[in-house]
């Protein structure tokens, strides 16, 4: 490899730092970046700059808020309308007959019973789908994922919090010990849509103020189990 190629390689690695920090490089690229970081203190400083940018970009996006319930309502109205059109009136029966059938006492009783069964089944399916989001085997993890209803974590709304992305190589046991040692607990996450999800972590049981929170976050950030940590509300 000549000198020009070496320089190009360094540029390529520099360009990959944002994806390295986000945990979205493949293993081969991540290994190359890590090797370069180990050998180049200036590159490591650049990675700190990237992490600063990433933390603020995340906070900016989090501040954009959430959509109102109107969206889901409109969406499923449209979906139900399409389903009705696709099904059409019952074959050979007509809409009038279908409506009459609906209001016979036997049909009414059957419909009520079916609704109970359906609701029960749906609850089961939702629970199953939600469990698929859990990390590791059921019962093996103290963490709760994004699928856990907010009500489940309301009891620990008080305290000081950080958004944390754990390093791809971090395993469940290490993270559990790391959090336990600091009295920290994951209260929400991972946020959907990414391979290296963000977790909302309660880092202190009480509100500790900005400076102390930043110190706690720096402590998280200094661990090799954490790829990024930023204060949050």
């Amino acid at each position: 490899m000549n000198e020009a190629n070496q320089k190009m390689s360094a540029d390529d690695i520099e360009a990959l730092l944002p994806w390295y920090a986000a945990g979205t490089l493949d293993a081969r690229e991540a290994d190359q970046v890590e090797a370069a970081l180990a050998a180049d203190a200036e590159l490591a400083r650049h990675l700190d700059l990237v992490r600063e940018e990433m933390g603020e970009a995340i906070l900016l996006n989090e501040a954009l808020g959430v959509p109102s319930g109107r969206v889901m309502e409109n969406l499923f109205k449209a979906i139900d309308k399409e389903r009705r059109i696709a099904r059409g009136p019952a074959a050979g029966h007509g809409l009038g007959g279908w409506l009459m059938d609906l209001f016979t006492p036997r049909a009414f009783a059957f419909a009520a019973g079916a609704a109970v069964v359906l609701i029960t089944l749906q609850a089961g399916v939702i629970a199953k789908l939600m469990l698929q989001d859990r990390i590791g085997e059921p019962g093996s993890s103290p963490f709760e994922t994004q699928s856990v209803p907010p009500a489940a974590t309301r009891g620990i709304d008080i305290g000081s919090f950080a958004l944390v992305r754990f390093a791809p190589q971090a395993n469940m046991g290490d993270v559990t010990r790391f959090l336990d040692a600091r009295g920290a607990v994951i209260v929400e996450g991972p946020r959907p849509g990414g391979p290296g999800g963000m977790y909302r972590v309660r880092v202190a049981r009480t509100y500790v103020g900005k400076e102390e929170l930043e110190r706690l976050v720096r402590e998280f950030q200094s661990s090799n189990l954490v790829s990024m940590a930023v204060p949050t509300e």
Partner: protein, 189 residues
């Protein structure tokens, strides 16, 4: 540490293709916030963004059977959302769009110098991020917030992977320039 959400998303899409309304609810609950924030950054209006994400997920309902699994579901969603948002913006008069965009997306009322006066580097950094061009801000958000790989950004934005890397580099370079103007020299690039 990560939960393998992509597999679950693909399973949901398979169920949605068979008309499973419940799977649609789960997929919607899982992705609506991120898609909304992505669209809101593009169109700059909450009501418009909400209407658009309804359309995005309605498209998913209609086209789930065409999903080939060549990208993550979240990438597919963002690509649909981006296409719809840009189509809408092209239909709107330029003046109206510019006005809304300036007012709701790129809040430039407080320039970087003001942030420095506050002596808060984080605030200055956020202000400078907001001052980036929509093109630069988009790639920054996709990489840092939506956690998209080079390939995924290329799929969403519709540009070559090499251009994704170059655009991200210049977005960060511009960010450093804005910070320098504001009195914060990061020593890079």
């Amino acid at each position: 540490m990560s939960a393998n959400l992509s597999t679950s998303d693909e399973v949901l899409i398979g169920r949605i293709a068979q008309g499973d309304r419940l799977a649609m609810q789960v997929l919607f609950a899982r992705h609506q916030v991120r898609v909304y924030r992505f669209v809101l950054r593009l169109v700059g209006n909450q009501a418009v963004a909400e209407d658009l994400i309804s359309e995005v997920f309605l498209d998913v309902w209609r086209q789930a059977d065409r999903f080939e699994g060549r990208s993550a579901v979240s990438t597919w969603l963002l690509a649909i959302a981006r296409f719809k948002a840009l189509s809408l913006m092209r239909r709107k008069p330029d003046e109206e769009l510019d006005e809304e965009t300036a007012g709701a997306i790129e809040d430039r009322s407080d320039d970087p110098e003001v942030s420095v006066q506050k002596k808060d580097k984080s605030v200055a950094l956020r202000k400078c991020l907001q001052a980036l061009s929509p093109e630069h801000r988009e790639v920054i958000d996709l990489v840092y917030y939506h956690e998209k790989s080079v390939q995924e950004v290329a799929q969403i934005v519709g540009i070559p992977e090499a251009t994704v890397k170059t655009r991200m580099f210049y977005a960060r370079k511009r960010l450093s320039e804005l910070l320098k103007t504001a009195g914060i020299d990061r020593g890079w690039p």
